[in-house]
Amino acid sequence: MSPFDALKEKIKQALPDLDYVIGWQQGFDSLHATPLFMRTPEDVDRLIWNPLCVHNLSTYLPSLKGKKVGIVLKGCDSRGVIELLQENLVERENLVLFGMPCSGVVDLTKIRRKVGDLERVSGVTIDDAALVATTPEGEVSMPRDEIAADKCLVCQFHNAIEPDHFEGDPLPPSTGADLGGDELAMLEAMAPAELMTYWAKQMERCIRCYACRNACPMCVCRDHCIAQSRDPHWLTQEDTPREKLMFQLIHTMHLAGRCIQCGECQRACPVDIPILALRRKMDRVIRELFDYQAGLDAKATPPLSTFQVEEANIKERRW
């Protein structure tokens, strides 16, 4: 039995004790997967596991507190579950975690750059080396590493952390160029006013849809987000770059020490604003200061919820 068939078998066995199991199914066209809520063995037969399964499904878990749910996890997604457990937003006894080794997902933005409009793609085949898209002009073959999500090229966690059921042989961490590092280096090379202008320009495209927030597994306030609160009134409804950048900074600050670097915020953005760079910068700061990465240890205390009287990496100001 292939690991994938073994996984489906495990899910079918677990179903009777669960409300449902969350995974992915083929979506509205050949390039998209969509989330699948499996309640019956027939539902499980619709499950897919391939590089199109981009969504981090742990985003659903906080609103399902109290239900007994199973969830299929890529390695990076499992950090979301660990972080939610750490923050008491989900209960371990109500969760069943399923995993397989993940060799990476695609970045549809990169595919769009290669084929133009994604709607022109009528079919895809995917193997370890390439994704081949059928378009009106013929087949376009794209090497996997050219269309992989950046996070996958440097993935440290191909295998779910602390799964209940894991099928297949765990993969070793990827090695490769730190693409996030290149992006930050490019930004950090700019003069301050130039950089502020860069962000203001990027934010002009933002339509304030808040997809970046809604896709984020660690944005758990949802209906109580301070972006929409009138008291205090943090943001106006104006569509100015200032308000929009302020929202990104709210998101980044509220995720400081909690962001699991899953990249869902940027992936969900319909206008491709490179907002992950802000989260990456904060992640780097938190690692430098507190030698800490979110989503690895459900027993840890988030670094900004605690302190040391003598901080190892914070020097007192000379004034």
Partner: protein, 158 residues
Amino acid sequence: MPILAGKELRIVGFLCNWCSYGGADTAGVGRFTQPTDLRIIRVPCSGRIDPLFIVKTLLSGADGVLVSGCHPRDCHYTSGNLLARRRLEALKRFLPIIGVEPGRFEYTWVSASEGQRWQQVVQRFTEQVHALGPSPANAIFGACGETAQDKGGSSVAI
């Protein structure tokens, strides 16, 4: 003050009620002359300072932000300043990625008895912000108080 002649900048200070606000008061009572660019906002504790206060202030066009609380171990609420120190340090290291020069934001500790020290902090921070000049935020995002259109938004009335 000579450095300020004719070109005051906008500096916002978030001061904790128990130490630094008292320190600033002591400086005033002691008649220590200080630059006048600083506008003080008094908060119950440095632990009350949401880093987003600072972000919002800077994006709104302030040329500098100064945070001052009680010295570590001297917090009226035991550990507000120690929690604040982690947040403020993380913010300080993060801000340059949005184009805010590191020197526009500082945090420090001043006790209620340290009037002289307060004078020095204000003097040095004001000089530091003057060396950087006016913040580019107003030029880039539009001055606060302009209409949405002036600031690059659409003309939809809200």
